[in-house]
């Protein structure tokens, strides 16, 4: 069952009282609902957020303190003593962790504190051994091995704090995309479990945002060498990534304004906007199949091929979910236009790229305006008219004329843009009245 708190119940009762005033429900029903939730609340294991945060923060400070002490690299200790010291943080952390899981498992404060401490302690132990043997290994390997060894801690204690440290540290493995993909795949079930418990909690949002950044960086690093050869391929790859964010926000979090969904929408619109220009990157002539094939023959592109395989897997999962759920979510036309971006991108291999994307961008803007007006959502209508205004302005500024004409034209477009927005708002108000 989903966790609830007192505030949520109070809000619900307040809302129900409003309904009672309008004689939609009876007072007895409200009392019964209140009693029902109060019982759930009473039976819930106590998880005092304040104590949990303090325990986690305390463990974090102690862990960082130990790392700082180690950084000093005490010269008067000989190798044997340093080796013994190297094991101390981990052994101490393990003892506290084992005690917590066996005796204090119910306490979120103990679990968070012990997990955060052990996660940092392992990194500290590896760092001391690196100092003893003068190892100058790269940061990716250091973060990968420390976080890989910390993974059982997160799952055993179900620690949100340790998982946040894990996600942040995983970002630093971007020098080796296999490390990044491995760490992100291994933490995915845990994030799923956490968000399943309470999708709308602050930690679930932080975890899912950090996770999406991690995957974004892995894709970016895996494909960055190809920017010069084919913007077409990268557009599809990042289109699928942005679409994945959009679908997770829509299907899983089911909130129109969820940060993950919004970031997906903005990324899709940004890519569509970039594709409007006829530059070196979006020019068809620049895409040369032979160059691409030659490049792929070289072993060094394993990273790229691996990234494409991972993105293809994401695309297949997305296609499955879209076909399974599209009826239930009743997508509006503007959402269908957004979803079609990666598919539209496929046409750029066979036809004039910038023309297709110019048409696509205009349709997208109009669909958003239509969506906003039809369903009385001002932000959607304004966003659509903003995109349209941006498009017209960009096209106008690209025309080869002098600055005075460009200036007057920009002001003119700006005024038209404001008028359209005003008309939109008016018509939406009228719609509202009609509905009443």
């Amino acid at each position: 069952m989903m966790k609830i708190n007192k505030k949520q119940i109070d809000n619900l009762i307040k809302e129900l009282s409003n309904l009672q005033e309008k004689n939609l429900i009876k007072k007895e029903q409200i009392s019964a609902i209140e009693a029902y939730y109060q019982e759930i609340l009473d039976n819930q294991p106590s998880s005092n957020l304040f104590f949990t945060l303090f325990a986690g923060f305390g463990a974090l400070l102690i862990g960082i303190g130990i790392i700082s002490l180690i950084s000093f690299n005490w010269a008067f200790f000989d190798k044997t003593i340093k080796t013994i010291i190297a094991f101390l943080p981990t052994i101490l952390g393990q003892i506290i962790f084992a005690y917590t899981l066996l005796k204090k498992q119910e306490s979120a404060a103990w679990r968070e504190g012990a997990s955060i401490f052990l996660t940092l302690a392992i990194s500290a132990s590896i760092a001391i051994i690196s100092q003893i043997y003068q190892l100058s290994g790269d940061n990716s390997s250091f973060f990968f091995i420390s976080m890989f060894l910390s993974l059982p801690i997160i799952y055993l204690a179900r620690s949100t704090g340790a998982s946040v440290i894990y996600l942040i540290a995983s970002v630093f493995t971007w020098g080796n995309i296999y490390y990044t993909w491995t760490l992100s795949t291994l933490i995915l079930p845990f994030i799923y479990l956490c968000t399943k418990e309470n999708k709308y909690s602050m930690f679930a949002t932080i975890q899912s945002i950090l996770f999406s950044i991690l995957i974004g960086l892995a894709i970016l690093y895996g494909t960055h060498v190809f920017y010069d050869y084919s913007f077409q391929i990268n557009r599809i790859i990042f289109g699928i990534y942005a679409l994945a964010l959009f679908c997770i926000g829509t299907f899983y979090f089911q909130q129109d304004l969820h940060l993950i969904r919004l970031s997906g929408i903005l990324q899709l619109c940004f890519m569509a906007y970039l594709s409007v220009f006829k530059t070196k990157m979006s020019n068809d002539n620049y895409f040369n199949k032979q160059i691409l094939l030659n490049e792929l023959k070289i072993n060094d592109y394993n990273d790229f091929i691996f990234t494409i395989i991972m993105v293809a897997i994401i695309a297949l999962i997305l296609a499955f979910y879209i076909f399974k759920f599209y009826e239930k979510y009743n997508f509006h036309i503007s959402e269908w236009v957004l979803i079609s971006f990666p598919i539209i991108s496929l046409f750029s291999f066979v036809a004039e790229t910038s023309l297709i994307f110019n048409i696509y961008f205009i349709i997208l803007s109009l669909a958003l305006i239509y969506h906003g007006v039809k369903q009385n959502i001002l932000r959607t209508a304004s966003f659509g008219s903003f995109l349209l205004g941006l498009y017209i302005l960009t096209k106008f500024l690209c025309i080869d004329t002098d600055l005075i004409i460009k200036g007057i034209g920009s002001i003119f477009i700006g005024i038209i843009f404001l008028i359209i927005n005003y008309i939109l708002k008016k018509s939406m108000k009228a719609n509202k009245k009609e509905l009443r």
Partner: protein
Amino acid sequence: MKNKNLIISFISLMMALQLGFLIYLIKSNEIILKDGKIFKFKTAPVDPFNAFKGRYVALNFDAGNFTLDKLPDSMSCEYNRRPKIIYALIGNKDGFAYVKNISIKKPNDSEDYLTIRQFYCDEEYKYDDNLKISIETGSYKINLTFPFSAYYLEETHAPKAEKLYNDNNKNSNNTYALIKINKGNALIQDLYINNKPIKEYFN
């Protein structure tokens, strides 16, 4: 009870994994120290700060910069075509280590070699006084980053170590690192400044 036993087994497994890795890390480095062959590498230290591992003297080696007349087969200097790992065959000349050649294929364990994950290579150009332009010489300039690029010191000692280096910089024959090499892996044993181990300056 059954649940508790399961938790104990998982915790034990996790502890074994974590401690096992730390022991493995120590053991693998002890093998290099025990079986490795020793080489002297001329150095050029500087002094940055690594927040995770403390204060160290960053090392650069003369042996890492050299010119090759010909690259190994199928190797290219182009950024996108460069292999990720190469092997540097190490030899001894006048008491100091030098790179005899580089290879894409892993050499036999009987040979002294280093595994290199970071390197730079470029075509060599020479300025022609008559034509007033730079012309390719046909050779390649190679720069290798050796896997022993840092020497860790106590935080308060590092600035002094840097000063010591600067004072002794002119006579670089006296500034070198002792490196143990075993099957492509390497460890710094000691850093010598003016023919004296750096630690002795702080005793």
